[in-house]
Amino acid sequence: MVFSSIPFLFFFLPFFLLLYYVLPFKFKNTILLIFSLIFYAWGEPIYIFLMLFSTFVDYLNGRLFESSKFTRKKLYLIIAIIINLSLLGFFKYSDFLIDSINHIFNVSIPLLKIGLPIGISFYTFQTMSYSIDVYRGNVKPQKNYATYLTYVSMFPQLIAGPIVRYETVNEELHTRKITFSGFTNGLIRFLHGLFKKVLIANNIGYLWTIVSTMGNSELSVMMAWLGLLAFTFQIYFDFSGYSDMAIGMGKMLGFNYLENFNYPYIAKSITEFWRRWHISLSSWFKDYIYIPLGGSRVTKIINIRNIFIVWTLTGIWHGAAWNFVIWGIYYGIILILEKFILNKYIEKLPNYLKHTYTLFLVMISWAVFAFDDMTLLQNYFDVLFGVGRYPFLDKTFIYYLSNYFLIIIIAILFSMPIYHIIKEKLLLIKNKRVIYGIFVIRLITYLILLLVTVSYLVSDTYNPFLYFRF
């Protein structure tokens, strides 16, 4: 089930929340677990057993740690990690591997054609972080399997993140405050995410669909850049909208997840961009791979090797295709360059050049990210940089620019912390009438946006989730 759909918004969520709030505390985890399993089974009735198995492995691992000596613990941890990675590897990467082998050795091993279980990349990373944290002694193992399963399968974050670590919610799994203000703030946050997803991401994504399916002969240079800009906004509003919805629902249930996005497109360098984009993933790689490898407290060469490993893995985590590998390595190289050479020059640049530099590299990376077919990717780059061979500007560009102008402006504005700036300004106002006026305007805005959002969901023709298959 996706959050931005009629069944979720009008049945699943209200019905669940009603039960959740009415039942006494000791049943709240149970009802959350039951609904999370229904939520998962809605889209993956079979693979739910895979998730149950995967969580059970790490749960068992945690229990075994309790009564083991240090050397044994290490063995258990290694076994758990091997099982986790094998499942992920088998279900996500086997066809990619077979296909690559077929190409390299010119053989034709048939593909397995296994469907990717929804959310497997996310929940595998969650369960692995649990095992490692327990091993390191950062958290106490969970004794109750149902509680542990509740943590992993909790529907707000189950299928598209953020990657919530066990230590973040450990206490809240047992004692959490469920308040009206949690519900209020959570619902408002949820709505922001819903609006970002439906009104901005889906809308501008339509432009990207048009451009990406045009042949090279129909494209102009500017049209290719307009399409790439559309994809740049689509992926941000889609994914961060999803995180907002997850964090908002977490709040409604009494859980406080960590933030996952912090206006990545206002970053002034790629290093900063990755501190602002998909934070739960980059910090996962940092804490569980980069630092154990020695991080930056090693020689330059080893440090470069470490960055390289982390970013190759980050790339491949995003999808089982070569373009994702290239995408990861691309960022790895830029981050190495920035760290050892570029940063001191970038610092001296005026701000607008820092932004231009960052956004340019980010947009290029999204082009690589968008095409898992290498020929299509090459063709697209051909147009992006093919001044001379392709028309620079054409009527089609002007037509689509005028059609999407307003939505692009809106996307630019909300890529910046404009909402927070305005909110802070408004909080300073003391005049009661003005405060009341603002309230009325907000109320009307929320209701109108909700009506428009529902109208999109009802028409339901264009509602894909970009990060759904990761």
Binding site: M1, S5, I6, P7, L9, F10, F11, L13, P14, W42, G43, P45, I46, F180, S181, F183, T184, N185, L187, I188, L191, N203, D394, K395, T396, I398, Y399, S402, N403, Y404, F405, L406, I407, L427, I435, F439, R442, L443, Y446, L447, L450, L451, V452, V454, S455, Y456, L457, V458, S459, D460, T461
Partner: protein, 373 residues
């Protein structure tokens, strides 16, 4: 204070959601959407297999979207939002100037298959005087009504390509439609069909090409039978801000006809089914919507000549004119007629003329025509 206001906002939003979910549960469920001209999703039957392959939940999701209370109103909200956000096309429909909604023309993919199929048909029936008429749609004739800067695929290229490769007579009506479009409306504002005027002038061109004398336009009694026709493009775009269409019938009292809807075994004495004028689907007033095979007999005419018309729905408004020149008009819609067309024509040995009439949009999407043999 702010917290208090936020509580009011979320309370109202919660009420909104709960009210709509209750309405969705308890409202009467329609089975058919007139506006979209399709049957709505029925409540899916549960089975383990349906659940396993995901069809149960996806059908359930369509069911809930289809039966959402105020669905049509929500669709128009969406259109309104898209319009104010600057979109000039919705659901493959251009929001054109001067009240025109114009259907998009997608790049044709079946040209060669169509050519091959039609030429084959001709070689099997080479004793027949065969004519192909491809009608350009509003996107070509009303090019100047398209939104500013809109770039479209060129229908005239398609027509030229097909005509160049066809082994029998082809009839070009583009110029005629362009010319008369200055005087009369050749296409409906809100529907993808041509108007009766366009059908008349196309019929005139057919006559000139086949040495028949067309009935002059002044001999018809032109009657406007409805002024509130909201056609398919209106439904697709949900743009309710536009003026409805008028449908005109060109009535002619010299002859009487009998219309045999063969598959239904129904014989009527009129070319028009007036009951449709009370429904949304008003264009079906012409020969009762789509049928695999209709035979129209002119009761008084002296000639023995018969014609076969292989066609899409555009022909429906032109047949009343052709019926004044033939004893019988055999109307075959290959989308629905599943028997051999060649055999049918050989069996009716008075058929000496044939007209293949399609609009340039549907011919490419119609699998009937490529499997005609």
């Amino acid at each position: 204070m702010k917290e208090f206001y936020n509580r009011i906002i979320v309370t109202l939003i919660s009420i909104f959601i709960v009210v709509f979910s209750l309405l969705l549960i308890f409202s009467d469920k329609k089975t058919f959407s007139e506006n979209e001209n399709r049957y709505l999703q029925v409540f899916p039957k549960f089975s383990f297999r349906n659940l396993k392959d995901g069809s149960y939940t996806s059908k359930l999701q369509s069911y809930l979207s289809d039966h959402f209370v105020g669905r049509d109103a929500f669709m128009s909200i969406k259109t309104f939002y898209e319009k104010i956000s600057g979109k000039n096309e919705i659901n493959e429909v251009y929001l054109g100037k001067d009240n025109y909604l114009i259907e998009k023309y997608n790049k044709p993919v079946n040209n060669d298959k169509i050519i091959k199929s039609l030429n084959n048909l001709y070689h099997e029936l080479n004793y027949i005087n065969m004519n192909l008429m491809l009608v350009p749609t509003s996107i070509t004739i009303n090019k100047d009504k398209l939104p500013k800067n809109a770039v479209t695929n060129n229908q005239l290229d398609t027509i030229k390509y097909i005509y160049d490769n066809i082994d029998f007579n082809t009839i070009d009506i583009t110029k005629t439609l362009m010319e008369y479009n200055k005087k009369y409306q050749m296409f409906y504002y809100l529907d993808h069909h041509w108007t009766t005027y366009a059908a008349y002038y196309a019929y005139q061109v057919y006559c000139y090409n086949n040495l028949l004398e067309p009935v002059p336009i002044y001999e018809f009694d032109v009657e406007e039978v409805t002024k509130d026709f909201n056609g398919t493009l209106y439904s697709k775009s949900n743009d309710y801000s536009r003026k409805s269409d008028t449908i005109a019938l060109f009535l002619y009292d010299k002859y009487s006809y009998s219309v045999n809807y063969v598959s239904k075994d129904i014989i009527k004495d009129s070319l028009y089914e007036m009951d449709y004028l009370n429904t949304k689907d008003k264009y079906s007033v012409f020969l009762d919507n789509n049928h695999p095979l209709i035979v129209v007999t002119n009761n008084e005419i002296k000639t023995k000549a018969e014609i076969a018309v292989i066609k899409d729905s555009y022909a429906n408004s032109m047949i009343p004119f052709l019926a004044n020149h033939y004893k019988k008009v055999h109307i075959i819609d290959p989308r629905f007629y599943k028997l051999s067309i060649v055999q049918y024509i050989k069996d009716n040995n008075n058929i000496k003329d044939m007209l293949i009439l399609y609009n340039t949009n549907t011919i490419d999407e119609d699998n009937g025509i490529v499997t005609i043999n």
